[in-house]
């Protein structure tokens, strides 16, 4: 039994479809813009924001507001919209008891806390997840994975296990986060933000940029996979080192990579690329390069997508997985936008240009606060 992708969608400032996003990435476009005082914040920042007007139009077209009570927040809108598109494309019956909805988000509706009398029940992403399940008439309790920046990959791993265990036949995974003064000021307080466009793995990198996005993927069980992507392994491991600082030895990431290679049977030479986190902070990129080298994968092309979108938090794991899938279908490894001169102690092959490939497998890698790390492996068709 295999776990196969049968639908996807994405909504980012670069486009509201996978096709538009892939074209924008291949054209080297970035959604990142500099704001001198975004929302009145007392510092400049570089972020990518989903335009409200375009979102309103798409929402009105795609979402049946009859099934909703009251007005939705921006977060709820992008979650519903991306879920609706992916469900429609997959052709599944979302009300089936064999279908489970899994949301990935770090901060969900946290912006509501700025209200004078905030609706505290609604702040948790668990509320949004239930709202999606209700919208689609799904009878199962939805899951929300909230593991900081690795959530989008954890949600897919959770989906994989939901299907592998026989608990469900189909899983709809939605990764989403929107920005707010809360999130931007928080990352600024950690001195993690760059006031310029980020430069993953580069010697002159200064920090990360934040971005808004939603992406959804539908996985289902199948007997065979003549074409299309399957998820073949996933693992989550902890550094057991520090709640916010990446491990100096890349311990958790190294362990996820080793587990995923072992479980999938994939060898370094099978992999088109490692699509890594590459946040462009000093320590993250250094840590990933060490983990990759320790895992014996330092000959595999490494690419990162933060230069196009910034760090999209709970969306990142889904968005970056889907873009890598689309790119490999077209025989391309997208450029790491913003990369110039390698600036990690263990050199890994990062490229500022897109590269052609014939290979059909990749590993997605992420790490996050709480010392957590995740990796998952994906193969297209019979693949290797």
């Amino acid at each position: 039994m295999i776990v196969k992708k049968i639908g996807d969608s994405m909504m980012t400032p670069l486009g509201f479809s996978v096709e538009e996003n892939f074209a924008a990435v291949m054209a080297g476009r970035s959604a990142l813009r500099r704001y001198e005082s975004l929302w009145g914040l007392p510092f400049p920042c570089v972020v990518s924001l989903i335009p409200d007007e375009k979102l309103e139009t798409a929402f009105a077209q795609e979402v049946d507001t009859k099934n909703l009570s009251g007005k939705c927040t921006k977060f709820e809108k992008i979650v519903l919209l991306s879920a609706a598109k992916a469900v429609k494309q997959s052709g599944i019956d979302p009300s089936s008891e064999r279908v489970v909805f899994i949301l990935s988000s770090t901060k969900g509706n946290v912006a509501l806390l700025a209200d004078e009398n905030p609706d505290l029940e609604r702040v948790t992403p668990a509320h949004t997840a239930q709202m999606i399940a209700n919208y689609f008439g799904n009878p199962n309790r939805p899951l929300t994975v909230s593991n900081a920046c690795i959530s989008g990959l954890c949600a897919q791993i959770e989906a994989y296990r939901c299907l592998k265990s026989g608990q469900y036949d189909t899983a709809v995974v939605i990764g989403a986060d929107v920005l707010s003064p809360f999130i931007v000021a928080g990352f600024q307080s950690l001195k993690a933000l760059s006031d310029e466009q980020c430069r993953p793995f580069s010697a002159n990198r200064k920090g990360l940029n934040l971005g808004e996005a939603a992406a959804a993927v539908v996985y289902t069980v199948a007997d065979d996979v003549a074409d299309g992507w399957q998820m073949v392994a996933g693992a989550v491991r902890n550094d057991a080192n520090h709640i916010s600082g990446p491990s100096r030895t890349g311990e958790g990431s190294y362990r996820t990579l080793m587990t995923v290679l072992d479980e999938s049977g994939l060898l370094a030479n099978d992999l088109a690329c490692l699509n890594v986190h590459g946040t462009s902070t000093l320590y993250n990129d250094e840590m990933e390069a060490i983990a990759i080298t320790r895992a014996g994968l330092n000959q595999v092309p490494v690419n990162a997508m933060k230069g196009y979108y910034g760090h999209t938090l709970g969306a990142a794991g889904v968005l970056e997985t889907l873009l890598t899938m689309r790119a490999l279908e077209k025989g391309k490894i997208p450029a790491t936008r913003g990369f110039d001169e390698i600036g990690v102690t263990m050199p890994v092959p990062v490229s500022s240009e897109s590269v052609d490939t014939q290979k059909n497998a990749f590993v997605k890698l992420l790490s996050g606060f709480g010392g957590c790390n995740a990796a998952a492996a994906f193969v297209n068709g019979y693949g290797l």
Binding site: A126, N147, A148, I243, T259
Partner: protein
């Protein structure tokens, strides 16, 4: 895979229960969480830096693992830490919001912000115990033992996972919290 629950701890603002038996009660004075920290003679000053969600989860895990009696603080990857709640890190979120609410007194606190993620408690437990295994935080629309049991059963699909430290850890304020934690092992 067959699994069984070995130990179970329940921590509320009123009392601490071990395998259904009441073993400690809150007395007037310091917060019950600080009382438990002192009673168990934990030499771990980081405890006082934690937000209430982490304190509750951390204490429950400490008491459970002391009961287990296995050798501690040795690096291992066969134990996962998988916790659940509904309200995520709501209390830390509200505390951080206060540090940015007034433009005249705008000093976002980094040490509060790091706790505005629910999975930090799983990280604190992993750091304390040198657990390199899976760590995960799952939000549910309501407390459901059935939903948690299903998630725990799935966690054992990881080939390295032989036991799971798991449970419901909710803390919406300094005085409203609940942890029900158990150690599930494969048998």
């Amino acid at each position: 895979m067959n699994t069984r629950v070995t130990y179970r701890v329940r921590l509320t603002p009123e009392c601490l229960e071990m395998d259904g038996k009441r073993v400690a009660e809150a007395v007037a004075g310091e917060s019950f969480l600080t009382q438990l920290y002192r009673m168990n003679k934990m030499d771990y000053p980081k405890f006082f830096k934690m937000d209430v969600l982490c304190k509750v989860g951390f204490l429950a895990s400490e008491i459970l693992l002391q009961a287990e009696g296995a050798e501690r603080f040795v690096p291992r990857s066969d134990r996962a830490v998988i916790l659940f709640n509904r309200n995520s890190s709501l209390h830390a979120d509200r505390t951080f919001q206060q540090t940015i609410a007034n433009p005249e007194d705008f000093y976002p606190s980094p040490s509060v912000f790091v706790y505005t993620l629910p999975n930090i408690v799983t990280g604190e437990i992993a750091i304390r115990n040198k657990y390199h295994g899976e760590s995960s935080f799952i939000l549910l629309p309501e407390k459901s033992q059935e939903a948690m049991n299903r998630a725990i059963a799935r966690a054992f699909l990881d080939p390295e996972t032989k036991s799971v430290l798991t449970g419901w850890v909710e803390a919406v304020s300094e005085t409203e919290f609940e942890a029900t934690m158990e150690l599930v092992v494969s048998s």
